[in-house]
Symmetry: C2
């Protein structure tokens, strides 16, 4: 399977997502090309990565750059959500500034969603914006977080509350690197693929139902699924870069999902992001059914597929106890998608017929959560 | 003198700088207008200000908002450059998030350049960008830092190294508020007015020479000078929002100026920004003369005018001792305007004929600094 390219076309900026096997080995040339460099100019790269990815792949990547006479500054942070913090951000920035990297030099985010969010945010605010390249190493990052230019860190008041919109010069997604990904992480990324189908591509959902097994093994189908997912997200981002409209559809399953992540204190032993989204999508469909927007049988079909690939789908699948419904509601209200006192949810009218519901009654959500919790107590 | 408006026209965004006497009293209505609000929508405002401005004007401003049923969250930080720090930024952000302000709510920067830079940066990264309004209370902020969308904080590696480009919804410049400004601060702002003349408006420089006294007293001439300065800066920003070209001209006097500010550890007892720029502009002209670009008599004319209004113009005017030339050079090299090993300076070929010089030899600068320091030893 050869390399494929998805182009993101924004008002002022256009860039490629390059998807295919063994791209790490071509990264240096690709980056020189993306930064439109003359050979005479010696670019320096800061590689932001985490301890996991560093132990598996950093040496390979650095050798590639050294061979191409590119000076690199590796910056390794702890693996996990806790690195999306002010203190880690400040450390990363200090290291880049102390290495005297300039505006025309480049920050590479080499890792999953946490690294992409943290590295992109750092790149966007150092010297008011350095060059930036994403090299996502998880399925979730390849099909979702590396596409679209959202960056950020967490606050004690909620997830991703501090950040910027900042587009990279390019995204390089090596599909072979996913072979070193734990199965649980692969599944979590797969949940976001399913989400794209459920938003507005029923055919893609049906294609996933048929081909999931192929996608989980490293077949050309995997690359195809990544390309289709990136293309879908690229289209939405191109139409709504700053999330003033339809881009919010990408939050399908995320309002409930973030609620569950916060309720489980981002403890990856209990729940990781894609798992929370899987359960969140089922909750969004069940809530839509309760509002008589869809036939409950649709939820069953989706749940069946998510279960088939090993994803959790219900509150009872989360290890440990959850807080009560009032506490969960309070977590939703602090979510940044809240506008004044009306709750905004992504709901659905059928398979692949999601829509932005802006005036959801907090009481209806509370009573829905009470029902759901009652079932597991 | 009635209120005047200068409009900044950018590719994607257009906003007004409103300049005139007693604008605080109209701020609430103006802000409602700028945010294009329906009366039904209750906007909340975070007012970021410093202890000085708070003690003089915060109560007046808040009363105005209360009268107009606008809920305000005042956030008062320490006066001075040290507030452009990571820790103050984090405190400001925490206060805004804990008050549960949303994307559609608004941050007001009510103060001088420090407050504008800090408040604008916070607004730009909270929830990936909140509404933002500048209410500059110093001459420097009214004619320079509030115009053009640069925000930022300092790093131990240099000034303004961390920040964003972020445009406000509007700028409200109350010229009467300048009556409470210490004379030294007024002079420092005036230095940036002079800079606009020296960049490419020789007629404006001559007009300033003639009318400085009127501008220092609160006459209609002051408003006129502020309007002309804002118009000048607005034009440059409109042509080059992200400083990829001619906007760099605004750094006339700033490379030497930042060097002096760093050398004096931002100690306002020794030097404030506009004073550093005044000395920096004279150094830039003297250096241009040394490179045979201008007649030394031009520097004398400019120096005479700056002295006439009470501004420092020479290294010997800075209280205390300065480091040696090598140390000063090292400070210049860490400045963010440096691109690789070539130094970039704004030099001049005559009155109002400044240009961007990209290949200035570090040796020439070093020997120039050695000469200058020799004279004061």
């Amino acid at each position: 399977m050869q390399t494929k390219t998805v182009t993101i076309k924004l008002d002022k900026h256009c860039y490629d997502i390059i998807i295919g096997p063994n791209l790490i080995a071509q990264a240096a040339l690709q980056i020189k090309h993306s930064l439109q460099q003359k050979d005479s100019h010696q670019t320096r790269l800061a590689i932001i990565t985490d301890t996991n990815v560093a132990s598996l792949h950093l040496e390979t990547l650095q050798k590639e750059f050294t061979k191409n006479k590119i000076h690199t500054v590796p910056i390794v942070v702890e693996t996990g959500e806790q690195s999306k913090s002010f203190s880690t951000l400040q450390n990363v920035i200090d290291k880049i500034l102390s290495a005297r990297l300039e505006r025309g030099d480049c920050v590479i985010a080499f890792g999953g969603g946490v690294i992409g969010d943290l590295g992109g945010f750092a790149a966007s605010i150092i010297r008011r914006g350095m060059n930036f390249i994403q090299m996502p190493t998880t399925l979730l990052a390849q099909i979702d977080s590396s596409v679209g230019g959202k960056t950020g860190i967490n606050s004690k008041y909620g997830k991703n509350l501090i950040g910027t919109f900042y587009q990279p010069q390019c995204v390089i997604a090596d599909t072979c690197i996913l072979d070193t990904l734990p199965l649980r992480e692969f599944r979590a990324g797969y949940a976001e693929m399913v989400k794209y189908g459920l938003i507005n591509q029923p055919d893609f959902f049906a294609w996933l139902e048929k081909n999931a097994q192929e996608i989980f093994s490293n077949s050309p189908m995997r690359t195809e699924a990544i390309v289709r997912s990136c293309q879908f997200k690229a289209d939405i981002v191109a139409r709504d870069e700053y999330e003033t409209g339809e881009r919010a559809l990408l939050n399908l399953g995320h309002t409930f999902g973030h609620m569950l992540e916060t309720a489980t204190t981002y403890d990856s032993n209990r729940l990781i992001h894609g798992e929370a989204v899987a359960i969140g999508m089922i909750l969004a469909h069940q809530f839509s059914a309760q509002l008589n927007l869809i036939n409950p049988a649709l939820t069953d079909r989706i749940e069946k597929h998510l279960k088939a690939v090993g994803l959790p789908t219900q509150l009872k699948d989360i290890p440990g106890t959850l807080p009560d419904a009032e506490t969960l509601m309070a977590l939703i209200s602090q979510d940044k998608k809240v506008s004044q006192d009306n709750l905004t949810f992504i709901l659905t009218r059928g398979l692949g017929q999601s829509f932005i519901a802006k005036n959801v009654s907090p009481d209806a959500v509370l009573s829905f959560l009470e029902q759901k919790l009652a079932k597991i107590r």
